[in-house]
Assembly symmetry: C2
Homo-oligomer: 275 residues x 2
């Protein structure tokens, strides 16, 4: 008899990525998959919508090449680019799904970010696909927030990483180093700045309350837009009873925001979506 190690499963994405049949994963984990990728729910979503697109382990790449962004970018350049392009294709499909769900639940769409963390505790490469709000009860620590801030520098947008491939080779070589100490500083230092308005907040609770306000403002703004549009439509087409938009929605839509709440019963500012 052997004793199992008392460590968390930091390689769980690798086990997903090595499955011959991703559909053996439960639907609470798997959103979708392609020949080259699979998409899972982030277990600790830092935005209202948050998924991870993971490259499947298949020739010519082994698990070792796909450990993280740095290990991928140390592979042959065209190979690395192909992996990124495959992730990009899957991520764009996920983006469409999210946008459909946004329309269903909120009646409007907002931005969706796709990008990597240059350093990660989880042992398999994963592309974050998340809605542009950073509004979630799981958003708890400064490093959580700064790791997704869209202009701080830690969150590496996929389009930027792809652009490195088209730059001069010296730039490519410099960027793919992904120096850990450089990126660590970005998370710890600097203030907490609202990614919407760039205002500095003094603490995470204050930041979360502010993000709540910003999302509320967005909702109010978009609802006012809808209201104006509805009034125009009422005037122009008051005799039309059925809308065609219903038909554009998929027959079955995955529930993309399965469980909100931080798992505790502790009521916190920003813990709930605005009503």
């Amino acid at each position: 008899m052997t004793t199992a190690p008392s460590t968390p499963n930091l390689a769980i994405f690798r086990s997903y990525a090595s499955k011959p049949d991703p559909t053996s994963l439960p639907p609470s984990i798997l959103l979708s998959h392609s020949e080259t990728c699979l998409t899972v729910f982030d277990a600790f979503p830092k935005s209202i919508f948050h998924f991870l697109v993971i490259p499947r382990i298949q020739p010519p790449l082994s698990a070792r090449h796909l450990t993280d962004l740095r290990s991928l970018l140390q592979c042959e350049k065209s190979t690395a680019r192909e992996v990124l392009m495959n992730l990009n294709k899957e991520a764009n499909n996920v983006k469409k799904l999210i946008e459909e769900e946004m329309m269903k639940l909120y009646k409007f769409k907002w931005d969706i970010w796709m990008g990597f963390h240059p350093i990660s505790s989880m042992e398999h490469l994963h592309l974050h696909v998340l809605s542009a709000d950073l509004y979630s009860p799981k958003m708890k620590l400064k490093k959580h927030y700064n790791s997704f801030h869209p202009s701080l520098g830690f969150f590496l947008h996929l389009k930027d990483v792809l652009s490195w491939f088209d730059a001069v080779p010296s730039y490519y070589q410099r960027m793919i180093k992904l120096d850990a100490s450089h990126y660590e500083l970005l998370l710890k230092d600097g203030d907490l700045c609202c990614w919407w308005c760039d205002r500095a907040l003094v603490s995470m609770p204050k930041l979360k309350a502010h993000l709540h306000d910003e999302f509320d403002k967005l909702t109010t703004r978009e609802n006012a837009k809808l209201e104006r549009k509805r009034k125009r439509t009422d005037v122009l087409a008051s005799s039309v009873q059925a809308s065609a938009t219903d038909d554009e929605r998929p027959e079955k839509v995955a529930r993309l925001t399965p469980i909100q709440g931080d798992g505790s019963s502790d009521p916190t500012v920003g813990g709930d979506l605005p009503s």
Copy 2:
């Protein structure tokens, strides 16, 4: 109408020390007084018994000279010594009161420490007189504990301060400097060591649990002593019905440990005395 300052009353001991009639203080604050000193309950006792002996402000010394130990020791040497001797006399009376209360409540006595903090936030000199246990729910922080550890160096025993006066002048001049940065390091650096057994503890909760155990051992030891003594007394004087020891106790004894508990309902290790 004037607005009270938004600061804590760091000079409250000074206001006590300037009272022409100390008995105007309520008995929940004042324990006793003399021509030169008064003794108050420490509002946040760090031992089972904990009092502060405060020099009264009277000629030739002003409040400024009595701000803290350093300011006193910068006065003319014989004047400073006289203040310390007056504090010593009052403290010895307090010590006797505590020992009587120890006998009443615990049936045995243990050591009592008398000494100063070389740096203090409170603005008037005060001599700590406290039982040698450091066992109290108000003992919460490392700096609390280390500031009373009897051999760490921060707690300046009165008898040691008095000995400076009899040393060579160069030693006296060196000691009365009371360099703040030196003493600050003593509170922050170094481990938490049990003052009974010198064992290092890794955290305050562990230390408090250990101090609880040490006080329990003391209690058990002393109770065993008493039991042995009682058995000898039973054999030798079984015919004597009335003991003389009752008469030695004062007719009225101040309640020296007025309120235990840390003011919250939060049950903490070491928060209660051993039963």
